[in-house]
């Protein structure tokens, strides 16, 4: 069974709270499930942590904010 994707809205939060909320949400992410994060600025620092921890990610600009999608495949 595929779990529904998760969405967190971290717009208007001061750094580094968006990163902290994202990492909290990742702790519950299942393989194949996606986490969508809505954020005011592109979170370059987060990418390094996601790469370190083996997560996949992509980012799109949605007119007023960025949407970062994060997931991982079953090892």
């Amino acid at each position: 069974m595929t779990l529904p994707d998760l969405t967190i809205d971290v717009r208007s939060l001061p750094a580094p709270e968006p990163m902290e909320h994202c990492l909290e949400a990742l702790a519950d992410l299942a393989p194949g499930q996606h986490l969508n994060m809505l954020i005011d600025r592109e979170p370059y620092p987060l990418y390094a942590i996601l790469d370190r921890d083996g997560f996949q990610h992509c980012c799109t600009f949605e007119e007023t904010h960025f949407q970062v999608t994060i997931w991982y495949d079953k090892p």
């Binding site: 001061p14 909290e24 620092p45």
Partner: protein
């Protein structure tokens, strides 16, 4: 514009932390000294206790925090990591700490050997630091993040001002030590230290850090581009006028007025940005920024009083407000952002093995303590209250009110103890987090 930090370039914990630990330790020392000296310490700029207190504040408390934070910010916010950073920071820290203690002892005991030794140690500390940072700025000039170019203008200005402050200070201390006539450069030393090194660095940091950490709007672009240059130009003009014999005093005062106006403008804009920020509830760091900027606004009437109503206490009050109120508040508040973040980030780095399956990271991320738990908001606010009480008391003591002179030292001890307790609490939390992670690793074979 400048809204990017790269936390992956965070230097090792041992680089900035010793500098930050100096802050409560030197504050405790200054508190003990002010308690021992009492109102006498505030009676004149020139007595030994006042000079020792001034340098415990400017070198031990503010200098330590600013040098440590700059290493961090240059790497993280500007893509300018300083080479051999462990050696540079370790050497600078040891030399700065011992040099400051010796300088303060020299002022207290009027002890020429201490001044000479302090000159050597502090000269080496700043030479190592400035050489390493200047080299990094030069080598990485083409790799600087696009959004960070504007903050590098005030940072470069601040570093040049630091070099001038140090050179003049060393000359003064060396002259004292050898019994030579003292050059008439003390006002220049004070101006370059407080308005140049302290003011420009704070301004540069505010352009970068307030939008990110306080969720304010960006500073108006003309202000962030031109104000640091205007201030640097005004300081050069003031120095030239001060050094030229026969120039009318009015010219120097006009330059001072413009300098005061420039900093008042920055304080006003910063307060407006803080007031209209997206998050309505202020955190403790926000409160420290408010305290610092209101103190900066208070400097304008104090400067007018000092210049046009010649009274010795106006100059002393201006110095105290700038050191304890403006720079002291922002430095103290900054520690509440930077220390928990560093410990939270380093706790992760200590346990998560890169490039493993996300499963191991997910297990650790579930149990690692949250950043807010490293220093409690209530404890931080209590310390902010003690800091504000201390700052007001020191100002009243400088105004010549004896009861405040008696209370100034004890209040600084209370504020410093609160800060030391809060940082110590964060360090204990960090150690416990690492121990919990080690136990978790032992109980989860997949983590080994």
């Amino acid at each position: 514009m400048q809204r990017a930090l790269d936390f992956d370039k965070t230097p090792a914990l041992g680089v900035p932390l010793p500098f930050f630990l100096n802050v409560p330790l030197f504050a405790l020392l200054a508190g003990l000294l002010a308690t021992w000296a009492g109102p006498q310490a505030f009676a004149s700029r020139w007595n030994g206790a006042a000079l020792a207190l001034t340098h415990l504040w400017t070198l031990g408390i503010l200098g330590s925090a600013m040098l440590g934070a700059l290493l961090q910010i240059l790497a993280v916010a500007c893509n300018v990591p300083v080479g051999a950073i462990r050696a540079v920071s370790g050497l600078t820290h040891v030399l700065l700490t011992t040099g400051t203690l010796l300088l303060a002892a020299g002022f207290l005991g009027w002890w020429p050997a201490a001044w000479i030794s302090a000159t050597v140690l502090l000269g080496l500390a700043f030479a190592v630091y400035l050489a390493a940072v200047s080299l990094a700025l030069w080598q990485r000039r083409h790799q600087v993040y696009r959004g960070a170019r504007e903050i590098l203008v005030p940072v470069r200005g601040a570093l040049i001002a630091l070099a001038c402050t140090v050179l003049i200070g060393l000359t003064l201390a060396w002259s004292l030590g050898l019994g030579w006539p003292l050059p008439d450069w003390i006002d220049t030393h004070v101006l370059w230290g407080l308005a140049g090194w302290g003011g420009l660095l704070l301004m540069g940091m505010s352009f970068q850090l307030l939008p990110i950490f306080q969720v304010t709007e960006l500073y108006p672009k003309p202000l962030s581009r031109w104000l640091p240059l205007l201030i640097a130009g005004l300081m050069l003009a003031w120095t030239a006028l001060d050094a030229s014999a026969g120039m009318p005093r009015l010219m120097r005062e006009t330059v001072e007025l413009l300098l005061v106006g420039a900093y008042t403008l920055w304080a006003g804009v910063t307060l407006r940005l803080l007031w209209t920020r997206k998050r309505p509830t202020p955190e403790t760091t926000t409160l420290f920024w408010y305290a610092g900027m209101f103190a900066l606004l208070a400097c304008a009437p104090l400067w007018i009083w000092m210049t046009h109503g010649p009274s010795p206490q106006a100059g002393r009050m201006l110095g105290v407000v700038l050191i304890t109120g403006v720079l002291g508040s922002v430095v103290n508040g900054m520690l509440y952002k930077i220390v928990p973040f560093l410990l939270w980030k380093h706790a992760q780095d200590a346990v998560i093995v890169p490039d493993q399956d996300p499963g191991q990271a997910r297990i650790y991320l579930k149990v690692l303590p949250k950043m807010a738990t490293y220093i409690g908001e209530r404890a931080a606010r209590l310390q902010w209250g003690a800091h504000v009480a201390m700052m007001l008391c020191w100002t009243l003591a400088a105004a010549g009110w004896p009861p405040a002179g008696l209370l100034a030292g004890p209040l600084l001890i209370v504020s410093a103890t609160g800060l030391a307790w809060n940082i110590g609490w964060a360090l204990r939390r960090y150690r416990k987090a690492l121990q919990a992670m080690a136990m978790l690793r032992d109980s989860h074979p997949e983590l080994r």
